[in-house]
């Protein structure tokens, strides 16, 4: 059984390998799990292994776990990272067998359900104190069918508008506070010879993100979500359709043929200084600061559009992943101790300072001014990125449906209400409100 996933990957690869025409060198599914040193150790000194997809953060996590090891003599935490694109398969295979990790980073919301349903993660209700964790984020690690908690969320992402302060100063424009100012700002940027907004519309996953940034306030954010989940409203709601229409209206402030622009191209547009604004997630911060170290970054929330349901601008957010314990771990007690620490403010602050991402722990201080502001913006009007948080528990996922729908809308093949209909119809195949 442990070969379930690798065999499945193999069949895909075998299909490709069989041909003389299409070599399969790059199929990202294959590769077997190997290194996890689950050696039998004496009871006292414990080595806990943790798997992760954050290959870029290995050093940073080692620094963080040094602190834990110093405070807990005898405990060693081995942090092993695997290629992001292969991680899901590796982890599923690892947890199935006997050489899996004690703890692992697991994906959030819909992405973790397969592991939960297969009984591979330890339920931690009552065993881990999650009092310091932002409560709304616990849904990321909650089993959809049993409602139990299976992990501690570690990172969060928020959505907002990034802008280049240098260009704003040059053009004499400032952050908008009303919708009219927002439109005037885009007009002024275009008149100044810059692209107002950089968007990679060729990559459909970016489009629901843009929709939340410009449209969340229009459809109403949390109130709409409550109605949607209760079944008193759905995506064909007039306000939701209007929020999709805003996305279409905004193409005026992007390059021509924005549908051909790849996500990576849009990042370059912004970091190279040809576009003044970039609607995006907090995960962009690292890239922006490395690619354009001299650029002074600003962030704001897009003001509420006319007829908006929400009275204030909204920042959509979600948990990015959680730490969880392998049911088969032989060191469950030590793993639970570590998990309790991972739910603490001490870890949260170290995470913020070292990894430079947003933590799921409340009440931390962010030394980076942009991060500090983003954190404040999120606190001022938090809402859930619905199509990720609630609409990824089945196939097709909400974010795929709306992303492809918006592409069709950009191509002129679909209206805003058509996109909403397609979204509602697609998720209805597996989503039952009120369940």
């Amino acid at each position: 059984m442990r070969k379930a996933l690798s065999a499945l990957g193999l069949i895909g690869v075998a299909a490709l390998v069989l041909t003389g025409c299409a070599p399969a060198a790059d199929e990202p599914a294959e590769e077997a799990t190997t290194s996890a040193s689950a050696t039998a150790e004496p009871v006292d000194p414990v080595t806990l292994t943790m798997w992760s997809w954050r290959t870029e953060d290995v050093e940073k996590y080692n620094t963080i776990f040094d602190v834990y090891e110093a405070a807990n003599p005898g405990v060693t935490v081995e942090f092993e990272a695997f290629l992001n694109t292969e991680y899901n398969q590796l982890l599923a295979t690892g947890l199935e067998g006997s050489d899996g990790p004690d703890l692992a980073m697991v994906r959030a919301y819909g992405g973790v359900q397969a592991l939960i349903e297969a009984g591979q993660l330890l339920p931690i209700d009552g065993l881990v104190d999650t009092g310091s964790v932002e409560q709304s984020l616990l849904a990321a690690a909650t089993g959809r069918t049993d409602g139990n908690l299976y992990g501690v969320p570690f990172a969060t992402q928020t959505l907002q508008m990034f802008y280049n302060k240098g260009i704003f100063d040059e053009l004499g424009v400032t952050e908008p506070t009303t919708w009219d100012e927002f439109i005037a700002l885009n007009e002024a940027i275009a008149a100044g010879g810059y692209t107002p907004m950089a968007l990679g519309a060729k990559d459909s996953w970016m489009l629901p993100i843009f929709h939340e940034i410009v449209g969340a306030a229009r459809y109403g954010g949390p109130e709409f979500r409550d109605e949607l989940l209760a079944g008193t409203s759905d995506f064909t709601d007039a306000d939701y359709v209007a929020s999709i229409q805003i996305v279409d209206d905004m193409t005026e402030y992007m390059v021509d043929d924005v549908i051909g622009v790849a996500y990576a191209d849009s990042q370059i547009q912004f970091t190279a200084g040809t576009a003044a604004q970039f609607p995006g997630g907090s995960f962009e911060l690292g890239n922006f600061t490395t690619q354009a170290p001299d650029m002074e970054l600003g962030v704001y929330l897009v003001p509420t559009p006319p007829n908006a349901v929400s009275s204030k601008p909204l920042a959509a957010g979600w948990a990015d992943g959680s730490f969880a314990i392998n049911t088969k771990s032989e060191n469950q007690e030590a793993a639970l101790n570590l998990l309790n620490w991972l739910a603490s403010e001490e870890f949260g602050q170290l995470f913020v300072d070292e990894v430079k991402q947003f933590s799921a722990i409340k009440g931390l201080t962010y030394s980076d001014p942009v991060m500090k502001e983003m954190n404040e913006l999120f606190a001022s009007g938090p809402t859930a990125y619905i199509n990720l948080v609630d609409m990824r528990y089945g196939d097709p996922t909400g974010s795929t449906l709306i992303g492809e729908g918006i592409q069709s809308m950009f191509l002129g093949d679909m209206s805003a209400s058509g996109v909403a209909d397609k979204l509602q119809e697609g998720i209805s195949t597996w989503f039952t409100p009120g369940a």
């Binding site: 065999a7 075998a14 060198a25 297969a118 591979q120 459909s204 549908i259 093949d413």
Partner: protein, 316 residues
Amino acid sequence: MSMKMKTGNKPRQHGKMPILIGTAFVIPALALFSVFILYPLTTALSYSFFSWKGTLRGEFIGLENYVTVFTRAPFDEALPNAFSHNLLLFAGAMVFQNSIGLALAVVLHKIGRVKRLFQTMFTLPYLVSPLVVGYLWSLMLSPLFGPVNATLKKIGLGEFALPWLGDPTTAIWAIVFITAWQWIGFPMLLYGAALGGIPEEVTEAAEIDGASGSKRFRLITFPLLLPALGTVSILTFIGAMESFPIPYAVGGSTGAPAGATDVMALLFYRTAFESGDVGSIGTSSALAMLLFLFIFGVAVVLRTSLARAERKLYDE
């Protein structure tokens, strides 16, 4: 054959081999084939008949996964859409890649002297990973920074500077083109080898008999190329049906824009590894099996009918 055996002076004993030794020679290949192809193939087949919860196998559900991939959203729309793109990739490759490959092979066969140089040049792209080729071309065709559109604009053909990969009508053809660009050397080499194998005496004799150039190609060269044509066609078919790295690099796993470059392997990949559905092992296995059966079936039919056509040609 049997006549010869009887009339021959010595029976051909040296052609026979004790069955044990023969088996011993087959075993290594058979073992590798069993472990890496037969085993995954049969497990995937068995997976497709069960319900799944993550990696936990549920009960036997017969053909339900197969019914699902034909009837339930998103498969009911995605499957025909992706499949039609595979067929289009095959047709496109046959029309462009293979005919140009044949033309190149004929030209190179004639010029002789710098043949090696050109053969190497045309063959080089397929030494590069198709994923890399895909990413390179998506950079080349970018409407913002791509040299293709920049050049078109510079030489006054600005109206042809389209968002190649963003427009559904051009995106799939861009993939046909990129695939052809990479693989053109392959049919060229096969045809080149087949051309080299045609005895010159036959062509010379026809020339002396007064057959024109086009007649010689039609009646001599082409029939003798038929085996190569068959091989190229079948390999092209398999390649087009399993196309993955180039569409993945160009349109991502969703086949952007709006599914216009979706192919079967991408649909399988999405279902198996990016789906939020806990039963995805079952449905993705069903998809993989369907694709395998289709490719296998068509390849067998193609092979048999080509063999028949060849026999017919040579018998005449």
